[in-house]
C-alpha cells in the first residue's frame, strides 16, 4: 500500500525531478470522494470508483499547474513548499465539506476475517498488495512499451532535448502528476474500508510513502515496491511486539539511517556529480 503511493513520488521525480510533497493528501482526496459517492450518495461501488479516478487525475494536474510548473526550472526548493501549501489547503477544504470526524467506509471485503495460521486477515488487506503489484507492472509496461511512456522517459532524461524533439514537456509533466495522483487515489479507495476516512489521514500516509520511496530509491520502481512491502511488514511487527508509538519511531529512524548510509536508496542509482 505504501508502495502504491510511493510509486507516485517515483513517477513525478523520474519525469521532472520534482514531486508532490502532498501525495498523501491525494490519497485522502480519493478516499473522501469515494466515500461521498459510495456512502453518502449511495452509488454502487464500481461506479463510485470509476468516477473517483478522473477526479484524482484532475487534482494531480491542478497541483502541477499551480504549484510545480511556475518553479519547474528553479533549483530552489520552492516546489517543495508550494506543494505542501496545496496539500494543507486541500485538507482544509475537505474538512469544510466532509467535517472533521472520521467516518467508516463499509466494504464487503472487511466483514469477515479469514484465518491464516492463527493470524486474521481481511480479504481487503490481501487485495491491496495484489493491486499494488499489478499496478506497478502496468506502470512499467506503460513506460517501456508505449510511445507516450517513452516520451515521459525522454523528458526525465533530458527535458531540453525532449522538447527539441517535439515532445510537449509541460504536458508530459502534467501527465506524470495526473498519473501519480491517480495511483494515490486508488490507494485511498482501497484503504478507506480498512482505516476510517478523515481529512487528516493524508499527512502521515504521505510521509510514510515518501519514506518508502527514499528507502527503495526514488529512481527505482521495483525498489520502491519492495521497500513498501518491507516497511509494511516492519510496521506490523513493531506495532505487534512493542507498541504503535514505537512503530513511527522505528520507521522514521530507519529512513534517517538509510539516508546517511545510502542516500540514493537501496535500489536507486547514485547521482553523478556535475561540475
Amino acid at each position: 500500500m505504501y508502495g502504491l503511493v510511493a510509486l507516485g513520488y517515483h513517477i513525478t521525480w523520474a519525469t521532472s525531478r520534482t514531486m508532490n510533497f502532498s501525495q498523501g493528501h491525494a490519497v485522502m482526496v480519493g478516499a473522501v470522494i469515494a466515500w461521498g459517492l459510495a456512502v453518502a450518495a449511495g452509488w454502487p461501488l464500481p461506479a463510485a470508483l470509476l468516477a473517483t479516478l478522473p477526479a484524482l487525475a484532475a487534482f494531480g494536474a491542478l497541483i502541477e499547474r499551480v504549484a510545480v510548473r511556475p518553479f519547474f526550472r528553479a533549483s530552489s526548493p520552492a516546489w517543495l513548499l508550494s506543494t505542501i501549501a496545496c496539500g494543507i489547503i486541500a485538507e482544509n477544504v475537505a474538512q469544510l465539506l466532509f467535517g472533521k470526524d472520521a467516518r467508516a467506509f463499509p466494504s464487503s471485503l472487511t466483514q469477515r476475517p479469514i484465518l491464516v495460521g492463527g493470524a486474521g486477515f481481511y480479504p481487503q488487506e490481501l487485495l491491496i498488495p495484489m493491486v499494488g503489484l499489478g499496478l506497478m507492472a502496468l506502470v512499467q509496461l506503460f513506460y517501456h512499451r508505449t510511445g507516450y511512456g517513452r516520451q515521459l522517459k525522454a523528458v526525465a532524461w533530458n527535458a531540453e532535448a525532449a522538447g527539441l524533439m517535439g515532445i510537449n514537456v509541460p504536458r508530459a509533466v502534467m501527465a506524470a502528476y495526473a498519473l501519480s495522483a491517480l495511483l494515490a487515489g486508488v490507494a485511498g479507495v482501497l484503504l478507506a474500508p480498512l482505516l476510517n476516512v478523515a481529512p487528516t489521514m493524508g499527512t502521515i500516509i504521505g510521509l510514510k510513502a515518501f519514506a518508502v520511496a527514499i528507502i527503495g530509491g526514488l529512481t527505482s520502481a521495483p525498489g520502491i515496491v519492495l521497500a513498501g512491502l518491507g516497511y509494511g511488514l516492519l510496521e506490523a511487527v513493531v506495532a505487534g511486539y512493542v507498541s504503535t508509538g514505537a512503530r513511527e519511531i522505528v520507521g522514521f529512524g530507519l529512513v534517517i539511517l538509510v539516508l546517511v548510509v545510502r542516500p540514493w536508496g537501496l535500489l536507486g542509482a547514485p547521482p553523478a556529480r556535475r561540475v
Binding site: 513548499l81 501549501a85 494543507i88 482544509n92 510521509l207 519514506a211 513511527e248 519511531i249 539516508l259 542516500p263
Partner: protein
C-alpha cells in the same frame, strides 16, 4: 532608513508594557518574540546556507522539555533551566545535522520531517520522563510582564547575533555555499562543515525559544510540537523575508497576529496558512522585507567608492618560490560509466610560468582540472603538489594547500556583493572564531577591515573597484570572469588553474587578460595552468604547452615546437600532415 526602522521597533517594544497592562496583549507580544527567534534561527539555515528544515518543532520541543525538566525535576532556577534546553537542542542539532547534511533538497526535508515526528512520538511514549500526551504542567513560570522583558531581550539579542553573523566571514561562507557549493569548495570552504554549523545554530535558537515558551506558559504538551508547527516556523521566515535580518521579526508579527485577527475564521486556518505560503513563494520571493527594500533601493543612489580605499596595495605575491616541479601528474586515468575520459596522462608544472593545456573539444581538459582540484576521484595514477600526494582529497582540502581555480562558466556568488566575493577568497578557510563572528568582537571588526582593504586592492587591480558594492549578479559576462580570477588570486595560491578564461570575451578583454597574466608571471605570481581554445592567446603567453587528445597527452613542449608537431596538426585538422 534601516536604522530608523530598528529604532522605531525598539521604542515600540519598550513602550508596549507601559501603554497596556492587558496580559493578553503582552502574551501575544511574547509569542511574536518566540516565533521571531525560531525564524531567525531558520534564517541562518535557509536564508544563509540555503537548506530547508521541516523539523524545527523537534528542536523547539527539546528546548521546552529540557527547560521544563531541569526546572521541575532538578529544581533548577529559570536562568539555569532555559540554557539547559538550548544546549540540549544544540547538541542534538549538531548530531542530526552531521548525519543529515550529507543530503540536501527534498532528501534533507525528509530527514528533518522524520526527526520531528520521532521527537513528537518519543514525547508521547516516554511517559515516565515527559508525562506522555498529558505533558508537563506545574513548570515554575514568570509573571507575563517578566516573561515579556525576558523574551523581548532574547529576541533583540538573537536578531543582533544573526546580523553580526551575516556581516562576518562565516556568514559570507554560508551564503557562498548556498550560491555555488562547487565554487565555495574551490576557495577552501567545506560546504558540509558550513551547513552543519548553520544547522546547529538554528537548532540552538529553536531550543532557546522552546525553553522560553515553557516558562511563559508553565505547561507544555506534545500538541505544541507537530509538523504543522514546523511549517508555521518556516512560513514565518518565508513570509517575512528569507535571508534578511528583519524578516523573521516581520514574519513573527504577521503569523502571530493574523490568526488572532481572524479568530472568526478558525475553520479556515489551514487555507489561510496554505495561501500565505503560496503567496510568499509566488509574489514575494524575498519576503515582505525584501519587497520593501527593493522599492527603497530604486530611489537610492549607488554609494560612491571612497578614495582612500583605492589603489593602496600591490596585487598578490605567490607563496611558491623554488624552480622545482610544483605539480606532478603521473599516469592519471579516469573513466565515467565505461567511457575513458583520461588515460595515462603525465604532466609536470614548474612553480612559475604559464603552462597551457590545449586540445580539441572532449579531449579531457576540464576533466583534468577537476581531477587535480579534487572534484573527481582518479581511477589510476598520482597527483603530487610540491611532492605531496593530493589525489582523492576533497576540493576544499586541495584548495587549502594552495590550489585555486576558475570555472568554464564563471561562478561568482550572486547573492553577495562584488567585494564580498573577493573577501571570501581572501579569508579562504580561515573563517575566524565563530563566537567572535556572532558577537562581533573587536578582533573580528579589525579582521573585517583588513579583509575588505585587501579585497578592494585586488579588485582595483582588475578594474572592478568602482563596482565593489554592487551585487555580483549585476555584472556582465566579461567582468564576471575578471571577478572570478580576482577571487581565486585572493587565496594567494601556489597554483592557479584557469578553465577557458577567454571564452566569451571580446578581443579587447582578451588582450587585457593576456596582459594581466603576463604581469602576474613577471611579478613571480603563482604557477598558472591555462586551459584554452583561443590559440592566439595560448601561443602569445604560454611558456609550455601540453596537447591532449582523446584523453592522452600527444605532445608537450615549447609553443613553437608544439605548433609544428604533426600529431597536433592531425588532431586539430583531422588530416594526417
Amino acid at each position: 532608513m534601516a536604522r530608523a526602522g530598528w529604532g522605531a521597533v525598539a521604542a515600540a517594544a519598550l513602550l508596549l508594557p507601559l501603554a497596556t497592562s492587558n496580559t493578553y496583549y503582552l502574551y501575544l507580544a511574547c509569542s511574536v518574540g518566540l516565533l521571531a527567534i525560531v525564524a531567525a534561527g531558520l534564517n541562518v539555515l535557509a536564508g544563509f546556507a540555503g537548506q530547508i528544515s521541516l523539523g524545527h518543532a523537534g528542536f523547539y520541543a527539546l528546548g521546552a522539555y529540557g527547560a521544563a525538566l531541569a526546572a521541575t525535576g532538578l529544581g533548577w532556577p529559570l536562568w539555569a533551566s532555559v540554557p539547559v534546553g538550548m544546549v540540549a537542542a544544540a547538541i542534538v542539532g549538531a548530531a542530526v545535522g552531521a548525519a543529515a547534511l550529507r543530503v540536501s533538497g527534498p532528501y534533507l526535508a525528509m530527514v528533518t520531517i522524520a526527526f520531528g515526528i520521532i521527537v513528537e512520538h518519543v514525547l508521547m511514549e516516554w511517559v515516565s520522563l515527559t508525562g506522555g500526551p498529558g505533558g508537563i504542567f506545574n513548570i515554575p513560570k514568570l509573571a507575563v510582564g517578566g516573561s515579556y522583558w525576558l523574551i523581548a531581550a532574547a529576541t533583540a539579542v538573537t536578531l543582533w547575533l544573526t546580523a553580526n553573523l551575516r556581516a562576518s566571514a562565516w556568514g559570507r561562507a554560508l551564503l557562498a555555499v548556498k550560491s555555488s557549493e562547487v565554487a565555495a569548495e574551490a576557495l577552501g570552504i567545506s560546504a558540509y562543515l558550513a551547513r552543519t554549523t548553520a544547522f546547529t545554530i538554528s537548532a540552538a535558537l529553536a531550543g532557546l525559544a522552546g525553553g522560553l515558551f515553557a516558562i511563559l506558559n508553565g505547561y507544555i504538551s506534545p500538541d505544541s510540537f507537530t509538523l504543522q508547527t514546523s511549517i508555521v516556523f518556516l512560513l514565518a521566515l518565508l513570509f517575512g523575508g528569507l535571508g534578511s535580518v528583519a524578516g523573521p521579526l516581520v514574519g513573527g508579527v504577521a503569523l502571530t497576529l493574523l490568526p488572532e485577527l481572524l479568530t472568526g475564521l478558525a475553520d479556515y486556518r489551514l487555507i489561510l496558512y496554505g495561501s500565505l505560503l503560496l503567496i510568499s513563494i509566488y509574489g514575494l520571493p524575498t519576503g515582505v522585507v525584501g519587497a520593501v527594500r527593493s522599492r527603497a533601493r530604486r530611489h537610492a543612489p549607488h554609494p560612491a567608492l571612497s578614495p582612500e580605499t583605492r589603489g593602496r596595495e600591490a596585487p598578490p605575491q605567490g607563496k611558491g618560490g623554488d624552480a622545482a616541479a610544483l605539480l606532478e601528474v603521473e599516469g592519471l586515468g579516469v573513466s565515467f560509466g565505461g567511457v575513458v575520459a583520461l588515460s595515462g596522462v603525465t604532466l609536470t608544472v614548474p612553480s612559475n610560468g604559464i603552462t597551457a593545456v590545449i586540445g580539441p573539444n572532449g579531449a579531457g581538459k576540464t576533466t583534468l582540472i577537476n581531477l587535480i582540484t579534487g572534484y573527481y576521484r582518479p581511477d589510476a595514477g598520482q597527483i603530487r603538489l610540491a611532492g605531496e600526494p593530493i589525489a582523492g582529497h576533497p576540493p576544499y582540502a586541495v584548495a587549502r594547500r594552495g590550489v585555486a581555480r576558475t570555472f568554464q562558466t564563471a561562478q561568482p556568488f550572486d547573492d553577495l556583493s562584488v567585494v564580498e566575493n573577493v573577501m571570501i577568497g581572501v579569508a579562504g578557510a580561515r573563517l575566524g572564531h565563530l563566537g567572535g563572528a556572532l558577537l562581533h568582537g573587536p578582533g573580528t571588526s579589525r579582521r573585517e577591515r583588513a579583509l575588505r582593504a585587501r579585497a578592494l586592492a585586488l579588485l582595483d587591480a582588475v578594474g572592478l573597484a568602482p563596482r565593489a558594492e554592487e551585487p555580483a549578479a549585476s555584472l556582465p559576462a566579461g567582468l564576471r570572469r575578471g571577478l572570478e580570477i580576482a577571487r581565486a588570486l585572493a587565496t594567494e595560491p601556489r597554483l592557479l588553474l584557469l578553465d577557458e578564461p577567454a571564452a566569451g570575451l571580446s578581443p579587447t578583454e582578451i588582450a587585457d587578460l593576456a596582459a594581466r597574466l603576463t604581469a602576474l608571471r613577471s611579478r613571480g605570481g603563482p604557477a598558472i595552468v591555462l586551459v584554452e581554445h583561443h590559440m592566439d592567446l595560448v601561443m602569445a603567453i604560454s611558456d609550455r604547452i601540453s596537447v591532449l587528445d582523446y584523453g592522452r597527452v600527444i605532445a608537450a613542449g615549447a609553443p613553437a615546437a608544439v605548433r609544428e608537431n604533426p600529431m597536433v596538426i592531425e588532431a586539430y585538422l583531422g588530416v594526417p600532415a
